[in-house]
């Protein structure tokens, strides 16, 4: 008779209670792991997607919304800004680099972003194969978009789902990016003009009508066509994200608008001053993504903290149930334990037997919790599209290890108290008393 089979038999004899404790432990572990995984994922993505962008400029509205929509591509934009105003800003001496973004369409939920090659350069994105876009309606797909070189596709209006389809204009995929673990993985990049033209706006780039291959290394600076210079106020109250479908008549094209500008500055002082100057104006809004990020994470942190508290509570309840299961059954088992002591089991062996009982529950509960946590995360991933599209995956971090360790310790402590009592059983009394 080994101690392990003795313990297993005892657990089996009170299987309902054992099972309850196992499940309580498992739920606590699962919840804690999912919460940790989730918040770590969000944190990681937020910081890698926001890397190096000092200022975001867009239409007036919620600055957080603007940052989310243009840096993280999760929310809808606050509106559009006249291109020539953006252009003025791009030439501001305090600006080091400027990336214009024009949003408005998607393909199967992946946003089509009109921009300049500077965007890829900023995130250090490289092409896995193919070439960058050279002219309008050529596109480069992010690694998780699932488009192949040579494929053509049409954009659907809107930033998610299936809006009106721009059937007239087909995009051609000329390149696919390597996966880099940022938001670019799930974007389709194209020239500014592609997005502007499709929404009936004037071109802003020189290269728009160039067709020759000699143009491969053309200049991507956003030179303006003098003849398209508008005052920019004509569309002041049209703060839509290219959401009105315009005619594609070249004659009727309206002044170009973009959605946002991502800026890096030459000095930290500019980071402070430039937004202030911009916000003083009437049409543009500037925000510091780092500040908005802090606000967001503190909001998220609050949410994940309450989940963490719930997970903690569950783990405590699980420990208590292990404790009560052992302690409660102990009264009835004192005779058994006295027998063991009488026939020569040492105190420490009896202690180990009871502790082992608690630890078997704890360990199997933890294992089940890890499995359920992994499963839960996968389920969450399928029902929460942003998790899916942002490439959330299960990662075993030190935090998860910490959770598992603390659960094991909690289980051990819960088992220890009954185990001490068991080891101290009064053998003579148990074998001579009537009850």
């Amino acid at each position: 008779m080994t101690d392990v089979s003795l313990v297993l038999s005892s657990l089996k004899s009170r299987w309902l209670n054992s099972l309850l404790s196992v499940f309580l432990t498992a739920f606590g572990v699962m919840l804690a792991l999912v919460v940790i995984q989730f918040s770590q994922h969000v944190q990681n993505r937020l910081s890698s997607d926001g890397q190096g962008i000092d200022i975001v400029v867009g239409a007036k509205g919620s600055p957080l919304q603007m940052v989310l929509s243009s840096v993280y591509h999760i929310d809808i934009p606050t509106g559009n800004i006249p291109y020539d105003q953006a252009k003025k800003l791009m030439k501001n001496p305090q600006v080091k680099t400027a990336i214009p973004l024009a949003l408005g369409d998607n393909w199967k939920g992946y946003r089509i972003v009109g921009t300049t090659p500077e965007y890829m350069k900023h995130y250090g994105a490289e092409l896995k194969s193919g070439e960058p876009w050279h002219k309008a309606f050529e596109a480069v797909a992010g690694s998780s978009v699932g488009l192949e070189i040579g494929e053509s596709f049409v954009g659907a209006h809107g930033l998610v789902g299936h809006g009106h389809i721009h059937e007239e204009e087909k995009y051609q995929v000329t390149g696919v990016m390597k996966p880099i673990g940022t938001v670019l993985d799930r974007l389709i990049l194209t020239s500014l003009d592609s997005v502007l033209n499709i929404h009936g706006q004037e071109s802003v780039e020189h290269t728009e009508h160039d067709h020759g291959h000699e143009d491969k290394h053309h200049d991507h600076d956003n030179h303006e066509h003098e003849e398209h210079d508008h005052d920019g106020h004509a569309h002041e109250d049209e703060h839509h994200a290219h959401d009105e479908h315009k005619h594609h008549d070249h004659e009727e094209r309206v002044a170009p608008e973009i959605t946002a500008l991502l800026l890096t500055t030459k000095s930290p002082i500019a980071n402070m001053n430039l937004p202030r100057t911009i916000n003083r104006g009437s049409t543009l809004q500037a925000a510091n993504p780092a500040l908005e990020l802090t606000r967001l994470t503190s909001m998220l942190g609050l949410g994940s903290k309450s989940f963490q508290a719930l997970a903690m509570l569950l783990i405590i309840i699980a420990s208590l149930s292990i404790f009560s299961g052992l302690a409660g059954s102990l009264e009835n088992r004192m005779g058994d334990l006295a027998v063991l002591r009488a026939i020569g089991y040492s105190k420490s062996r009896v202690f180990k037997i009871i502790t082992l009982e608690g630890m078997i529950i704890t360990v199997s509960g933890t294992a089940l919790g890890v499995i359920m946590g992994a499963g839960g995360f996968l389920v969450l991933k399928t029902i929460v599209p942003p998790l899916q599209s942002s490439g959330a995956e299960i990662r075993f971090t030190s935090d998860s290890a910490l959770i598992i360790c603390s659960v094991l310790i909690a289980g051990f402590v819960a088992a220890m108290i009954p185990a001490i009592r068991a080891a101290k059983v009064d053998v003579a009394r148990q074998v001579s008393r009537n009850t």
Binding site: M1, S9, K12, V339, A342, I343, G344, A428, V431
Partner: protein, 206 residues
């Protein structure tokens, strides 16, 4: 000298239960503690087995003074030398017959357990849970558990008090048979004067 007990007194909650007990048992000489209910028989058995300490006096087993042994030495002494048939039997209910019998073996000797099961008329019950046994069966399992590891001393507390004449004799024969096979000494406690004649020494306590 197997047991050497000198001037043992035992008091529980200001009540003197054992008053100056002296007892000398040679190896192989069975001993019966005879006395009415509440006279302190189980208490004395516990003291002889090292399960409780007397208030005063000295208990020696094979010239080892219990009071001089450490807790773990005493545990080991019991494990190696003693077998117990408790008054309430105290089988572990959720374990099977063979598991209960094998409890006192560090490594289950299946052949030995099988022989005992056959000897004690428990064939076919090996896998049955102890809690499902009849009282008579449980008693035989308790006897098997007490002798399985070939102890030097078999302690039996009230082994016959609930049994009729025939069964009382049967059970005592089982115990003595097993004791003979392993060369063990039987130390029993009872208020049942019927079995007086089976023992070499009798200590009457009042």
């Amino acid at each position: 000298m197997l047991f050497d007990v000198n001037n043992v007194c035992f008091t529980v909650r200001n009540t003197q239960i054992l008053d100056n007990v002296n007892l000398h048992v040679e190896a192989g000489q069975s001993l019966l503690l005879l006395g009415p209910s509440g006279s302190g028989k189980t208490s004395l058995l516990n003291i002889l087995a090292g399960l409780s300490q007397p208030g005063s006096g000295e208990v020696k087993y094979n010239d080892q003074i219990y009071a001089a042994l450490s807790q773990s030495e005493l545990d080991r002494l019991r494990a190696n030398n003693f077998g117990f048939v408790f008054q309430k039997l105290l089988l572990i209910g959720h374990l099977s017959v063979e598991q209960n019998i094998g409890l006192s073996q560090s490594k289950a000797d299946h052949q030995r357990i099988k022989n005992l099961v056959d000897d004690l008329g428990l064939s076919g019950k090996e896998k049955q849970k102890a809690r499902d046994l009849s009282v008579g069966e449980a008693q035989r399992v308790a006897i098997a558990r007490a002798v399985v590891h070939n102890p030097t001393v078999i302690f039996a507390d009230e082994p016959t008090s609930a049994l009729d004449d025939i069964n009382a004799e049967k059970v005592m024969n089982l115990i003595f048979d097993q004791a003979k096979k392993s060369g063990a000494t039987v130390v029993a406690a009872t208020h049942d004067a019927r079995i007086k004649g089976m023992f070499d020494n009798i200590l009457e306590i009042a």
